[in-house]
Symmetry: C2
Subunit: 309 residues, 2 copies
């Protein structure tokens, strides 16, 4: 069976056709998520229509970068991304436009299921996942079951745990000093501007980890300082996940991993130094294709749903 998977990311919409746990076709669209979802709908429909002709997909999966009620297929909180999705009837849209069943899931939950089904957490029943994209996504599996919680928000908001008394205000929640506000793509430009360090980096009109890496490699002290602060924050996020869900395996995913091996090596080294697990040693893994975890998870969910029906 095949799934058309749509990962609504804060920066890019990633789409793919997934068959037997492999992405066999893919596409990317600029997201401009602050402008909403509706402006992107025609282009997403065009790609789906094209793929429907070529591949006989049996379902469509959509991942959303904030809180999702996967049973009622509704957006619960938009987190300042794709605000017009609140109240939007995804199921009706997909059914009327393509005549297919669909699944809707939080992006980090989807990534966790993708890694459990086909990737870095294959065969693992207790693991946590942190996915570094535009923001920070988190999810956890305990005893083989995805943690969802009473209101579908358990495990997904670790990027919003406050770290500091008077930290940066957060674009995605009412909080201050959130991990995400100190260590994510959307916050990079402001973090750079607020630093007392001088650097040509401050003249970049847009900042992401790809650009930051270029400055970092050239020895820019501001880039080095930002990268260090990000690693500290991500480390704290991972330790919080470990203490919350008591996993065997820690999985790291997301486009920010294109930074290179230095990122997971440094991050995992720092976690290992500080985390307290008297039962033994955690395993630390990165995904093979950090851009595809979410797409794979949507396929996994589509498979589960079609088996139920």
């Amino acid at each position: 069976m095949k799934t058309i998977a749509i990962d609504l990311g804060g920066t890019k919409v990633k789409m793919g056709v997934v068959s037997d746990g492999k992405v066999i076709a893919s596409a990317k669209i600029e997201a401009n998520s602050s402008r909403g979802f509706l402006p992107l709908k025609p282009e997403i429909e065009d790609i789906c229509t094209k793929w429907m002709r070529i591949h006989s997909a049996s379902g469509i999966g959509i991942a959303f970068p904030s809180l999702v009620d996967c049973e009622r297929k509704q957006i619960l909180g938009h987190n300042d991304k794709f605000n017009d999705c609140e109240g939007f009837d995804f199921e009706k849209w997909i059914h009327e436009r393509f005549g297919l069943p669909m699944v809707l899931e939080n992006d980090a939950n989807a990534a966790a299921l993708g890694e459990m089904g086909y990737g870095a957490a294959l065969g693992c029943k207790d693991f946590v996942l942190m996915i570094l994209g535009t923001g920070i996504g988190t999810a956890a599996v305990m005893d083989g079951r995805l943690i969802r919680g009473k209101h579908y928000q358990a495990g997904n908001l670790f990027g919003h745990i406050p770290q500091q008394g008077n930290g940066r205000s957060c674009a995605g929640c009412p909080g201050f000093g959130c991990i995400e506000a100190h260590a994510s793509t959307w916050a990079l430009k402001e973090i750079a501007n607020e630093s007392p360090l001088a650097s040509p980096l401050k003249n970049e009109p847009v900042l992401n980890f790809k650009i930051l890496k270029e400055y970092y490699d050239a020895g820019d002290p501001l880039a080095a300082s930002i990268f260090e602060e990000c690693c500290d924050s991500w480390r704290n996020c991972l330790i919080a996940l470990i203490y919350a869900y008591d996993p065997e395996v820690v999985v790291l995913s997301g486009g920010v991993l294109n930074w290179g091996n230095e990122l997971p090596e440094r991050l995992f080294r720092e976690v290992k130094k500080r985390v307290w697990t008297p039962w033994g040693k955690l395993q630390y893994r990165t995904t093979q294709n950090p851009e595809y975890s979410v797409l794979l998870g949507l396929h996994y969910l589509n498979q589960i749903q079609s088996e139920k029906e």
Copy 2:
């Protein structure tokens, strides 16, 4: 039925006879937990023996202030308190000395069960608990079940989530900047000494929240600054618990609540301001008797165990 409950706290050992969810007799012993458990054993035995003569207890419950395997009845990590308990056979001791069945549990887990069975979380299936004693204990119940995790450490170590890049080193774990290292009884003396603020508080040979409150009430600026930092750290701990377990109710317990209403009011106000729960409003509760949550929970566990047998 009646339970003899023993709460091995970092500062005091609290003991009680619990009947039908009420503490009908109680005793306190100085713990000096850094000297270990064995020096306290004779006194604990004397009190138990006395109570056995008066009350016909059907079981004994012991709560430990660190990680516990409640199935095998073993201590998993001592957290620098009662180090000699690692490997100690509690079940054998209780059986040989008193001929009674026993339960062993992490203190915060016991407190959560006590509040669920008889207290602030009565009838509640999704709640988190933070208990402020010598350290910070945390526990969570999701869908009516205590969260334990693959290695019995899920939910209990939120006091060890790091908050700051270069925070204080922790007495209880390999980490730095742990919430507990910035906001708990055991850390107060060092926190005071390290402050640049001048205060007679620094001359106190021992510090706890009772003494801190006296200085605070007298307008001491160092006491005010420490109390504020503690509230910030506790707030972060509660927000992390909420994001991890998606509860309906937040319960606060522990001897530090003797500070007075100002503490929970301030803390809950700060959490409400920052936490993101698009589904609706959390309920915030304090226990009626913050010193007894753990004892009640041991009784609850003893009842469950005796029903099984």
